[in-house]
Structure formats: C-alpha cells, structure tokens
Amino acid sequence: MRLQYPSSVKIIRVPCTGKIDILHILRAFEKGADGVYAVGCMEGDCHYNSGNFRARKRVEQAQKILNTIGVSGERVQMYNLSSSEGPLFAEIAQEMTERIRKLGPNPIKQAMKKAA
C-alpha cells in the first residue's frame, strides 16, 4: 500500500501490547520522548485474551502519573485496530503526531537540557 506516516514516529515492536509496562512508558519520557502510544489488537481479539486490556490499564496509570508530575498525561494514548487496517494505522500516527505537536515538546527533555 505504501502508506505515508510521520517519520517522527519510532515503532517498537512487542509480541503483544500486554508486554508494555508502565515503566517502559515512563522511561521513554525520561529519555526525551514527546509522546507514547500503544497500538493493540481490537478489544476481544487478543491472542492472549487480555493483553490489550492490560495495556489500556497501564496506559491509564501512566497518564495519571504523568499528570501528577507535571507532564501532560495526554501524551500517552492507547489505540486498537486490526492487522488489516493499514490506512487506519497511518491515520493514528498522523493524529498522535498532531496531538503531540499541539502539546509541544516534552518538558522533561527541556529541563534536562537546562540542567546539562
């Protein structure tokens, strides 16, 4: 299909979104990421039954923690789509990129620059 999506998106492949931990998300921000989103299978279609539900819970947890520490929790999102939905994947990447551009850079990254 050769669909286009923003080059700022770095894909990290995991066997299932259930593998994603809160800590992975937080570390990404510590290392300067401006946003993180998880893309899982459709709810109810998880090969491991509840992996994508676990991911959603963890994304929500990460949002809460980020809100508490002054980094907008909106920078973390969870999406669900099926493997045949390539165009939707590109759309999501676009949507997320726009969301993050509106929010601006990760304040932690800026604070680190200042500290250094």
Binding site: L23, L26, R27, E30, T68, I69, A111, M112, A115
Partner: protein, 222 residues
C-alpha cells in the same frame, strides 16, 4: 501476607523535596505480591520522581534498590556500604520494613512509600481482602475457619448482629457479613450445634491492647 497500597506521589514528593540524593528501597516479599513496593514499583516511583524534580529544575539523584526482605537484618546489611551517601531513604516495604530499616540506619531519615493496610489474601489480581488482625489467640477452630475478629465490622464473637441482611454487612452492601460466612461454614460442616455455644469474653491482652508484643522462642534461639 501483609497488604499495602501505594502512597500518592505528591505525599512522597513533600517528604523528600529538600534532599539531593535519595534511595528508593523496595522489598521482595509481601509488597511485591500486592504490587505496591516491589522492584517494579520502585522503578516507577523513581522514574516519576526523577522527572518531577527535573521539571522543577532540581537535579535529584534517585537510586533504586530492592532487597529480599526489609524485616531481616541480614538483607538490610546489603546496603550497609552505600546507605551513608543518601540524604533519605524511601522504603516501599510495609511498616515493619520501614521501621526495621530505620533502626538499622539510625542517622538517615526513612520515609514510608506505601500505606500498610492489613493481613490479607489476593482474591483476584488487584483485589486484596483482610483475613486476620493478629489478635494473638486464634479462634478459628470454633468459628468454622472464618475469623469474626477480622471479618465482622464489630468483631462480634457472638454474632451476627441485627444488621446482617441478605448475607451482607450493615456497613456496606458490598461487604459480606462475616457471621453469615461462619454460619454457612458451620452448616456445611454439620456443626451448627457449635453456634449456640456462647463465646466467652475474650482476653485481648495478646491483641494490640496488651502493648507491643513479642514472641520469644527459646527452642530456636542460639
């Protein structure tokens, strides 16, 4: 196990905000199982605090460590060489671990990172419920294996009270009446005759009421 729950990050921030160098100290036992103070929670708290203080323009050094147990000296000794370098330690162990760490490292402030809740079990992931209040004189043999002290809101030894309704406690429609559970068990065990035996006035001197308690076992002391 001892069940604990995470303290709000804001509360921990308030305690350590004037430090430059802290250690987040987890425990591999109960608090790991109830997902409040194990290695993973240490990592999450440390990461969150690092980002928080960076965002505040403060470069705080936050180290992470998780011990096998914080209620045994031999494990607490593992941080003997490094403890001095910290302005404070945030312990994610239960109240026992926090205090034992404080006793071992007398001159370093120790702050609790969790609220210690009760002695309980994992009913399902994310749901822990109380089973024991450590009264020091177990009555379970007489109550069908269900504890009236921990599972009745009034710890009635001769329950249920008049507030038991459809198997639920008067204080909440989501809380099982402990005495309903006891009666169910006594019926299943064909021991309803036991129900009519009046439970005598309890000796609470082995409970909290008797002051700080200790168990001395000379047979295992060296």
């Amino acid at each position: 196990m001892i069940v604990a729950d995470k303290k709000p990050i804001e509360e921990i921030v308030e305690e350590v905000k004037d430090c430059d160098n802290i250690l987040i100290l987890g425990c591999n036992e109960c608090v790991t199982v109830c997902e409040a103070g194990g290695k993973k929670e240490v990592g999450i708290l440390a990461s969150a605090l690092r980002m928080y203080f960076l965002n505040q323009g403060k470069d705080m050094k936050i180290d992470e460590r998780t011990l096998e147990r914080q209620c045994d000296q031999e494990y607490l000794d593992e941080i003997r060489d490094i403890a001095d370098q910290y302005d404070a330690i945030v312990s994610l162990a239960c109240g026992v671990g926090v205090q034992f760490t404080a006793e071992q490292y007398h001159s370093i402030p120790i702050y609790p990172g969790v609220n210690t809740c009760f002695l309980g079990a994992t009913e399902e992931r994310g749901l822990w419920t109380e089973r024991c209040q450590a009264c020091g004189q177990c009555v379970l043999a007489r109550t069908g294996g269900i504890c009236p002290v921990s599972r009745c809101a009034k710890r009635l030894l001769n329950g249920p009270c008049g507030g038991s309704s459809n198997g639920m406690c008067e204080i909440s429609k989501e809380l099982a009446c402990g005495w309903q559970l006891i009666v169910n068990r006594l019926e299943a065990l064909d021991k309803m005759d036991d129900y009519e035996k009046i439970f005598p006035i309890k000796d609470w001197s082995t409970d909290r009421a008797g002051g700080p308690r200790k168990v001395v076992r000379e047979d295992v002391q060296i």
